[in-house]
Symmetry: C2
Subunit: 201 residues, 2 copies
């Protein structure tokens, strides 16, 4: 049984989760399934045409302060993006199309670093190309693959699966049939995994 | 410097926070200021006429499951209230009027127990009277005091202070100028208190 990590590249709390999950899961011997998805369609189905952090200013002001404290504690760099939320469609197509590649976690971390530590526009193909290169990959064939109809359909299907599983925000973790929402539930999700994997032995 | 505990009697995640905070703060030598407030006016200012857990069903379904897991971990009884959210106005007036009384924490815990472990209607004066009695108090004069114009005004003012401080949900904790939102931020708030109180010495 793996832990599914559902993330959206524009999502602020997905940033610390993406940076932490590989080592946190490895320390407990748990395999991670990386599941990129888009929050936009889910937010729109709730009547929101923007991030709730923009729609509800008190919530937004708190989130930026909370994220800043959290990143300081985790010793993660944070530069508040000059545009929020940024469009993570291209990055999500790459992450979805190549989810099982060994370099994928490095790519995901590079995209979050670009968005939240370097204030780079992750909707720009040149930025995503650099992220692929930093993960040791030749960008052009991968970008081409991510732009294929099959890749687009795969990301759409993954978004539909997210909604079916009851996801309403990111990051989310799924262990078996259990859903956990929020960076601060990563340890809870891993503990659930440990308890229920042990129960099967 | 104390930790302010801002709670709403209808709020689900305020339940474990209310049950935990006295012992968690005492273990660190921190004084708790108990601040009852009503979320209704704050939600209405965000355009919501109901709990977001009712307005957004996926969020609500997750919350009940998450709360159930959490209460199991904390060994807290949980019976999903047959009415949600319940009207906590009377309880909040009592808690606000008598915030500094030594019996207040016992009363607050009794109200949460009534709402979330016994499925009792906390808007009923008889239920609140029983909660006062279980905290060792004669209910009638206190209920009378809570119904005074002064008590009503005090709770309204406390709600306005909550909004001014940027609160948008419950439970919330305030340490100095720092706001922390959610039961799962209690330890973070206490750690912040420790770090910043120590810095002053």
């Amino acid at each position: 049984m793996a832990i599914q990590f559902w993330f959206e590249f524009a999502s602020t709390y997905s940033y610390p989760a993406a940076m932490r999950i590989a080592s946190a899961a490895a320390a407990r011997g748990v395999r991670v399934e990386w599941r990129a998805f888009l929050l936009g369609p889910i937010f729109r189905s709730q009547g929101w045409n923007d991030s709730p952090f923009n729609l509800y200013p008190a919530k937004g002001a708190y989130m930026w302060r909370d994220l800043s404290r959290l990143c300081e504690e985790l010793e993660l760099p944070l530069v508040r993006p000059s545009q929020f939320p940024r469009n993570g469609l291209l990055a999500a197509r790459v992450a979805c199309a190549f989810a099982d590649e060994p370099w994928l976690p490095d790519f995901v971390r590079a995209v979050y670093d670009a968005n939240f530590a370097r204030d780079e526009d992750i909707s720009a193909p040149a930025v995503i190309a650099r992220c692929l290169a930093s993960a040791g990959q030749a960008p052009d064939p991968l970008l081409e693959g991510a732009g294929s109809e099959a890749s687009k359909a795969k990301l759409r299907a993954q978004g539909e699966e997210a909604a079916q599983r009851g996801l309403f925000g990111a990051p989310s973790f799924v262990v078996g049939q259990e859903l956990f929402w929020g960076n601060d539930r990563l340890e809870t999700a891993l503990a659930w995994h440990a308890a229920h994997d042990a129960g099967r032995l």
